[in-house]
């Protein structure tokens, strides 16, 4: 189980040479890699499309061949997000607040972000910061051991603070993603039209 990196790589090479299928798969991936690299300079539009189609076809065929694995993976992802929201670790919570402080500093310094987005960042990050301070105060006053998650989960006030913080962060991520998408679409479509 506890192999060194050299041993791990050796195991992989052993697998590559172990059967006709593994050699074929290796050659397929190598070809895709070479075509992608060569096409950087050739800039053939159709080659790009073919590569994308091959990747997607392989991925979709894996989904069709083992749909339960796909469903399991999606469920795992959703459960991990839910676990993070409902049963967070205090370490992750600490990192969120470090992240929110970085966002505040970035928003203060950046000239690229719109005013509305800056205000939105400040609102969310300051609420997160306030909740974090409340969390620290409650943990100190109630003498909770933040390394023992049971003590965190059994205190409704502390748990509510952490869960609401995580929910806010999720909301911030979703809105930011849509904002980035909007900027991308605006640059891609609207600027083209404005030039006419």
């Amino acid at each position: 189980m506890n192999l060194s990196i050299v041993e791990k790589i050796t195991e992989i090479f052993k697998y590559i040479g172990s059967s006709f299928l593994s050699v074929s798969l290796f050659i397929l991936c190598l070809l895709l890699f070479l075509i992608s690299v060569i096409n950087i300079s050739k800039k053939n539009k159709y080659a790009n499309y073919i590569i994308i189609v091959i990747y997607l076809a392989i991925f979709i065929s894996i989904i069709i061949a083992s749909p339960s694995y796909f469903v399991y993976s999606i469920d795992w992802l959703l459960k991990s997000i839910m676990k993070y929201i409902y049963f967070p670790s205090t370490g992750a919570y600490y990192m969120i607040n470090l992240f929110s402080i970085i966002i505040i500093i970035y928003s203060l310094r950046s000239k690229k972000i719109s005013k509305a987005k800056k205000v939105f960042n400040f609102v969310i990050c300051n609420i997160l910061f306030y909740l974090f301070l409340a969390f620290v105060v409650l943990v100190t006053y109630n003498k909770l051991d933040i390394r023992i998650l049971d003590s965190l989960y059994k205190n409704n006030q502390v748990l509510s603070i952490v869960q609401v913080s995580n929910l806010l962060l999720l909301l911030w991520i979703i809105i930011t993603l849509f904002y980035k998408l909007f900027i991308f679409l605006k640059n891609k479509y609207d600027k083209k039209n404005e030039n006419y």
């Binding site: 959703l78 459960k79 049963f87 849509f178 998408l181 909007f182 891609k188 479509y189 609207d190």
Partner: protein, 215 residues
């Protein structure tokens, strides 16, 4: 007049629905649609997660020394899940009340009355003779597995599946005892028996004991 024209042009510019707006709105609708369509599945995942976490947090409650079963109510209707019975030590089936539940080994962390039908300390398995004692809560919560035991009549059947073999039991006696942490089990010591314990229906001060004998 010129000012008015400029204002009108500005307003016109504001009202233009751009391609990016349509695409963004479309993406937002797809996102909302995905959330709405998967809402029930998300709720199911949430229930599973909470159940897993409750079990994982119960490391310090391995066994129940004092059998206390209560009427538990949370007014929630739970959906029956596909259960993998292979993970249990044994399975209790009572066809008359539609009960089929597995139970874990005495030392398992899942052998806890707050989550499962529970194997009581001092039990012996059916292949060894003696008395197998199981208990669970009554009421109308998800964990009220013995909620309908009161419907059983003398002569009704129950089955224990253990080590790939089915053991058939017949109900021979039922009685109530005060809920004080101790239960006297009145059984025929010449026979292999199954004892089921739960809270008495509509009486929070008593527990009901069901004695079944191997047929």
């Amino acid at each position: 007049m010129q000012m008015l024209n400029q204002k009108l042009q500005k307003n016109k510019k504001k009202l233009i629905i751009r391609k990016s707006h349509i695409l963004l709105f479309g993406s937002f609708l797809v996102f909302i649609g995905a959330v709405v369509l998967s809402y029930n599945h998300l709720l199911k995942l949430k229930d599973e997660l909470f159940s897993d976490m409750l079990i994982s947090m119960s490391d310090d409650k391995k066994t129940i020394d004092v059998p206390i079963a209560n009427n538990v109510s949370d007014n929630t209707v739970y959906e029956e899940k596909n259960i993998n019975y292979g993970k249990y030590l044994g399975v209790l089936t009572i066809p008359k009340i539609g009960l089929k539940r597995g139970f874990y080994n005495i030392n398992s962390r899942y052998n806890n009355i707050e989550y499962n039908v529970t194997l009581v300390l001092g039990s012996t398995m059916p292949d060894q003779g003696g008395n197998l004692i199981l208990m669970a809560h009554s009421g109308d919560a998800y964990i009220s597995y013995f909620a309908y035991l009161y419907r059983l009549k003398i002569g009704d059947l129950a089955y224990i599946t253990y080590n790939g073999k089915d053991y058939k039991y017949r109900l021979v006696n039922t009685y109530d005892v005060p809920k004080n942490g101790k239960v006297a089990i009145n059984r025929n010591y010449d026979k292999t028996t199954l004892t089921l314990i739960t809270c008495t229906k509509d009486d929070s001060t008593k527990q009901s004991i069901y004695i079944l004998e191997l047929v």
